[in-house]
């Protein structure tokens, strides 16, 4: 038979496996069958008086588990067990009944055997008394003998004195030992947890391997309590191909053990300090070969059945195993020289970026891929984020993780794929992305840069295009990120004495009064000015006749001396001056038209106006056309006096 078997491992971790030492019930049944066939026609013989016997070890060691077996040779009821003071009842009573027929010299005997088995564990030293158990058989109460059990201190020697262990390789030598309650020593079967490291940084992975070391065959094992990993992120990386455990052989202190790897776990501490890992507890059933001499009868077949070949009695010993306490010393990551881009990655990584195209048109997509690969906790790894220009439409990255588990822990690759659509034409640069990690192997930080890219975006068809209307619907209101009071006024203090309002002060009223005074003064001045203007006009009006008369007198003198030139000058000035003064026309504006207009305004009759204008005309004409007759001068003189006299009446 081969040395390595596969340990079956169903879901509940109940493990059953067959080994060479296994029971061979077929042979026993075969023997029994022969026996029954032989004795069947024979009469039966009455059985012996009912008895209740007890069998137990007289000496045990603290912590040892042992069995106390009460055996009755008749069927009974109302079994009452004694109180096992000083011991812990680990299991029981396990009741089993068997009956057998035997024929001796033609007489047949029927043997009934009822056993009540208790599994006890000693927990303190001393000698303890175990009372009697009782059983009612056909109305009679039978009792067992009380007995004492001595509990010895645990000097680590009980394993050898009890000596129940036997493995497949040395089972032949253990035949000399004869005991009813076999034991498995801690040296034959134990559970161990092996951490890959005991002192790590936060985020560094540790591989914990739980191994079962055994020298005895183990029929089944069941994990009672999974270890709890407070403060750790864990991942089971057990290599359970098809539900069987990996087995190997290992030498420990010169002894060969069969080793089964029960579980392999990657744990990653999430905080610093001394973190305890609670032990794992498993329960397994070790199979120990015992001498099958339990049947107390003098049956001659016994020899036959007790033949080692035929009767390999196997005791299934339940054993609870747990690992030692394990504490991991977790160090904080060093604070100094921590790169800004560090986001908690611990391990050893490579970092690269990849882009599918760098020349494209607007509204076409390109893909930027960032890849981190290496050993470390790749599943919890946070990918660095690239910065895209604001006119790029960026979709949430597609992140794929492929993690490999190996004996050394976790490794793998994490990819972040960004689908990016540039919406506007131009040349853009994608800045390199920095990824930092802490390498626990050399205790330092490393930063890796990806490539930077220049992206050439040409104007494509449609889209943003010519009118930009596609963006009209994309407009967004301003996003307010928070609200705060407005900042202080930092300009001039503009300090003024308290209650210094200008309104209502005497200065205010003085200002009002001053303005009013100014107004009044202005008004008065304006009025006076007007008055003066009017005064001059009135003066002229008043003096007009007088001036005209003077001029006419002078003209009359010139007429008498026949001084033509001077006469016309005086005549003209008399007429013009009179009408200008009378009508208030400035000399500079004086002309025939202004005169006739002004006269019209003053409601002078048209014929008079015409006459006056005619006289003026005649005068001007005669003045520049000399050599005219004397009577003409007389006529003009008379007409001049006439119109002035007429005008005097009207104006």
């Amino acid at each position: 038979m081969k040395r390595r078997e596969n340990w079956r491992m169903p879901k509940k971790r109940k493990i059953v496996f067959l080994q060479r030492v296994n029971n061979r019930p077929m042979k026993k049944i075969f023997g029994l069958l022969v026996f029954v066939l032989c004795v069947a026609p024979l009469t039966m013989r009455a059985q012996d008086d009912p008895k209740l016997t007890v069998s137990a070890k007289k000496q045990v060691v603290v912590g040892e588990r042992f069995q106390v077996v009460f055996e009755a040779n008749a069927e009974g009821k109302n079994f009452s067990a004694p109180s096992f003071d000083g011991f812990t009842v680990v299991g029981g009573p396990f009741t089993s009944t068997s009956s057998s027929f035997s024929m001796v010299n033609g007489s047949m005997s029927h043997t009934v055997k009822c056993t009540y088995t208790f599994a006890l564990q000693a927990y303190k030293e001393g000698t303890f008394h175990v009372g009697s158990a009782s059983l009612t058989v056909k109305g009679d109460k039978i009792s067992s003998e009380p007995f004492d059990i001595q509990v010895l201190p645990d000097d680590g020697s009980y394993a050898s004195t009890s000596g129940g262990g036997s493995s497949g390789s040395n089972q032949g030598q253990s035949q000399g030992q004869n005991t009813n309650d076999p034991q498995v020593s801690g040296k034959d079967l134990f559970l161990k947890v092996i951490p890959s490291k005991k002192s790590v940084y936060v985020g560094e992975q540790i591989v914990l391997t739980y191994k079962l070391y055994t020298k005895v065959p183990v029929s089944s094992l069941q994990v009672d309590k999974m270890p709890s990993y407070a403060g750790f992120w864990t991942k089971d990386i057990s290599d359970n191909n098809g539900g069987s455990l990996r087995q190997s052989s290992e030498y420990v202190n010169g002894t060969e053990y069969t080793v089964a790897e029960i579980q392999r776990v990657v744990v990653v501490p999430q905080r610093s300090g001394k973190l305890d890992i609670e032990p794992m507890t498993i329960e397994c059933i070790a199979q120990i070969r015992t001498e099958g001499n339990n049947r107390r009868s003098n049956d001659p077949f016994d020899i036959f059945f007790n033949d080692p070949f035929f009767n390999r009695n196997i005791a299934n010993v339940k054993k609870e195993l747990s690992t030692a306490n394990l504490s991991i010393d977790v160090k904080n990551l060093p604070v100094d020289k921590k790169p800004n881009s560090f986001a908690g990655a611990v391990g050893n990584y490579n970092f690269k970026s990849d882009i599918d195209k760098t020349e494209l048109k607007t509204n076409e997509a390109f893909t930027l891929t960032l890849t981190v690969s290496g050993t470390g906790n790749i599943e919890l790894l946070q990918m660095p984020e690239p910065n895209f220009p604001p006119d790029f439409e960026v979709y949430d990255p597609k992140i794929t993780t492929s993690a490999n588990t190996s004996v050394n822990g976790l490794s793998g690759t994490k990819k972040a794929e960004y689908l990016v659509i540039p919406r506007r034409a131009g040349t853009f640069t994608l800045a390199p992305v920095e990824f930092s990690f802490f390498n626990p192997a050399n205790g330092s930080y490393s930063s890796l840069m990806s490539d930077g890219y220049a992206i050439e975006v040409e104007k494509g068809m449609g889209g943003e295009g010519d009118d930009g209307s596609i963006y009209a619907s994309n407009q967004e209101g301003i996003k307010y990120l928070g609200s705060d009071i407005r900042h202080i006024m930092t300009g001039k203090a503009q300090l003024k004495p308290r209650h210094s309002a200008f309104f209502g002060t005497s200065a205010y009223f003085v200002a009002l009064l001053a303005m009013l005074l100014a107004f009044i003064v202005l008004l008065l001045l304006s009025k006076k000015h007007e008055q003066q203007k009017q005064d001059t006009a009135a003066n002229r009006n008043k003096k007009a006749t007088k001036v005209a008369r003077g001029r006419l007198k002078k003209a009359d003198q010139y007429l008498k001396v026949k001084d033509q030139d001077k006469f016309y000058v005086e005549m003209s000035q008399a007429l013009w001056g009179y009408i200008a003064d009378k009508l208030g026309i400035e000399r500079s504006k004086l002309s025939m038209d202004t005169v006739s207009e002004a006269m019209k305004e003053k409601n002078v009759p048209d014929d008079l106006t015409q006459q006056f204008i005619d006289t003026l005309n005649n005068c001007e004409f005669a003045r520049f056309a000399p050599g005219s007759a004397e009577e003409k001068m007389d006529d003009l003189y008379r007409k001049g006096i006439e119109v002035i006299t007429k005008a005097e009446k009207v104006l």
Binding site: I485, H487, G491, K496, P497, A501, L516
Partner: protein, 255 residues
Amino acid sequence: MKRYTLLILVILSLAFSVKVYAQQDAERWFEQANAAYNAGSYDTALMLYDQVVATELESVPLYFNMGNAYYKMREYPMAIYYYEKALKIDPSNEDVRTNLAIANLAIVDKIEEVPQSFIVKGWNGLKNAFSGQQWTVLSLVAFALLLVSAFLFLRARRMGMRKLGFFMGLVMLLVFALSVIFAAQLKQASMTEDQAIIMAPTVTVKSTPNEVSVDLFVLHEGTKVEILDHADGWNKIKIGNGSIGWLQADYMRSF
């Protein structure tokens, strides 16, 4: 006689220079306080601002910055108090209004204001469009323009100018009257302390100025009240929703 005149002149100029120096000091403190505020040491800033206040000088920036410093120190009632003081000087200041609204969100009481008629609202809105100082200046300008219009009306030779003078004069008369009324009201308000901010964390407003009288309602710090009357250490107050009661004057800070 001449000697006395000289003495009086010296004393007067000294008094004037002292006043000028005080103002310069205050302005320096103000700048230092602003620097402290910008550096985030708000208590230092407040200490300096308080020094400025102690010089009996005041301004909108001073009270506004003090309100901000108190706000940053999470002393919201004091912040509201100083914002209100700043608003009293210049009811039209947008920054002060904004910060007061924000500070009012941080206090416990939320009082539904009694809705005002649109006339009162319009009147107050118009009044608060300028500060008292601005209304005063406006009244002077309006008066000047009124006189100009009157002059035009009275003295213009052309009919159009006289008409213009008439209507402009009417408008200016209205503007002058309004600005005088507003300036007077605002000055009156600035001279009297008829409003207050509750400073005690929780106070119970009583029905009479007596500790044993009926409890009417509870107010919390930061709430603005109007003071209607005084009676030996008690103030008759009115809150925004129109409720009236008596409260000990120690619990509030009037402005």
